[in-house]
Symmetry: C2
Subunit: 329 residues, 2 copies
Amino acid sequence: MIFVDGLECSAFDREVFEELRGGGLGCVTVTCGFWEDTTESLDALVRWRDLVRANADLVGVATTAAEIEAIHAQGRTALLLGFQNSSFLSGRIGYVEVFADLGVRVAQLTYNIQNDVGASCYDPVDGGLTRFGREVVAEMNRCGMAIDLSHVGERTSMEAIEHSAVPVAVTHANPASLVPHARNKSDDLLKALAARGGVLGVSGYRNISGEYAATAATWAELVARTADLIGVEHVGIGSDLGRKIGEADLRWMRQGRWTRTVQYGAGSAANPGKQPPLPWFPDTRSFPDLAEALAGRGFAPGEVAAVMGGNWMRFYHEVLPAGRPAGEE
Amino acid sequence: MIFVDGLECSAFDREVFEELRGGGLGCVTVTCGFWEDTTESLDALVRWRDLVRANADLVGVATTAAEIEAIHAQGRTALLLGFQNSSFLSGRIGYVEVFADLGVRVAQLTYNIQNDVGASCYDPVDGGLTRFGREVVAEMNRCGMAIDLSHVGERTSMEAIEHSAVPVAVTHANPASLVPHARNKSDDLLKALAARGGVLGVSGYRNISGEYAATAATWAELVARTADLIGVEHVGIGSDLGRKIGEADLRWMRQGRWTRTVQYGAGSAANPGKQPPLPWFPDTRSFPDLAEALAGRGFAPGEVAAVMGGNWMRFYHEVLPAGRPAGEE
């Protein structure tokens, strides 16, 4: 069994990497940026390279599913480099390949504001995937960069699912029919995602999991109901964990540079701040407890393995490049 | 025998690639930029990738000496991606690795104006390689990016030769003792370059080769005198050919964005414009004639092969990465 976390936004350092090892994680997608433009995104990749090099005994960057498995087999945690926005492209279709060649393997089409690709889940009007957005989807397919729709608007998401030649992901969200929230996803969307072979990373993040965030058992109930909705083979974990994220980080995520006003992201004026850690999942060392909770809820061993990481691995085998990056001969 | 041109600044298109094939060139270093910052340099790389893909029957990008030889063996011309400035770094040491991973294999430390790395050959004062410059030299060594000193100032060049752990190149210049010109190199510098195993690409570019530009025979005489000075094993060709370069291109090279005044580069007020093509070397289809001219001047067959490309290949084997790029595991 391999444990995979489909999305974290932690401020990683050696201690947080050690927590990954403490939980026995095989793979985690890290967040390299939210609003950063091309140069700032390259800066982030440079920092990530240096950070990974300095902690190569614990983690390694994976660019293929085979590399994830090899790093896992070495007793290390594979990292997939991801961005929660397409702002690193700065509007250039050619930069998909450039960033893929630099190891980026997951990108969300939009973060919390409409961009040149499409609309976010917080925009009142969603005009769908733009003409540039269609090009980006096709180019991400070609270059083996996974498409993430977690913060993306409904119509843009539906059109991305439709236009993508390979399965796409919602790395960290829940069904809105179980937890009503702008960040969560309609049954229609999740069923379309599943019908094309995609995966949803169920999240215990308090703001989008509501009462299911209470205990590991209630979280397992959320997973069970989600599996009933779209099939257990399309359900994974996307903790959205933000270890060591401070108020300034949270402000950058929520406000970026697009507003001078206070924004609450998935929170609200009544619930403005950083959420306290989940007592049953303070960090990734609790990953084995999640497997236990799923078994306790009645998932069969094969289903537990699928949700804990097997489904993500199937997705990565389908979507990530098989061999060398797209730009090389 | 493999023909190598150490530096061209042509505006490449299919016709110019066909000229490379017409001359049987095994490898040429192309100029991807002069003054461009990081994003503009990525844009240039994207254009180059598309251009090479569209002409893959004629050319291929090489990232190792072995790849040069493989592409040459396929009857195509290997291209080394080069920049004539370090402006693509935008002051970031980490971008050496990033651009190396994207296939860049040659970079000049400065173009025609002092930068954060050092001084150019046209600056009245040359304070030498900066502290950042030393870092850049070491990082280029580590990442297998060849250091080019053609337009670099004397002291900065001497210190780069000294600090580099591997041989460095002057891809396109001549000995100043033979053709006095700010762009040409002192005997001291060339001897230091050769002592460390470097290579000088002798150029027939009119502005820096003077009377030696008259015929293939006078050019061969320039090569012979240069070989007498630093040893034939350190002499290659760097044509500095600018096929299809127009006035706007020339203005960009010479003035960039650093001045509103007219600049003449290696020319002068009395000699301001684009130089007419050399009748004996209008384009690279004349490369075989150069070999003949060298033989006519009395070079032995092994020496002809060394100057025509063998010396550059030895340099590439020493300096370019042996295997996968530096940033990958």
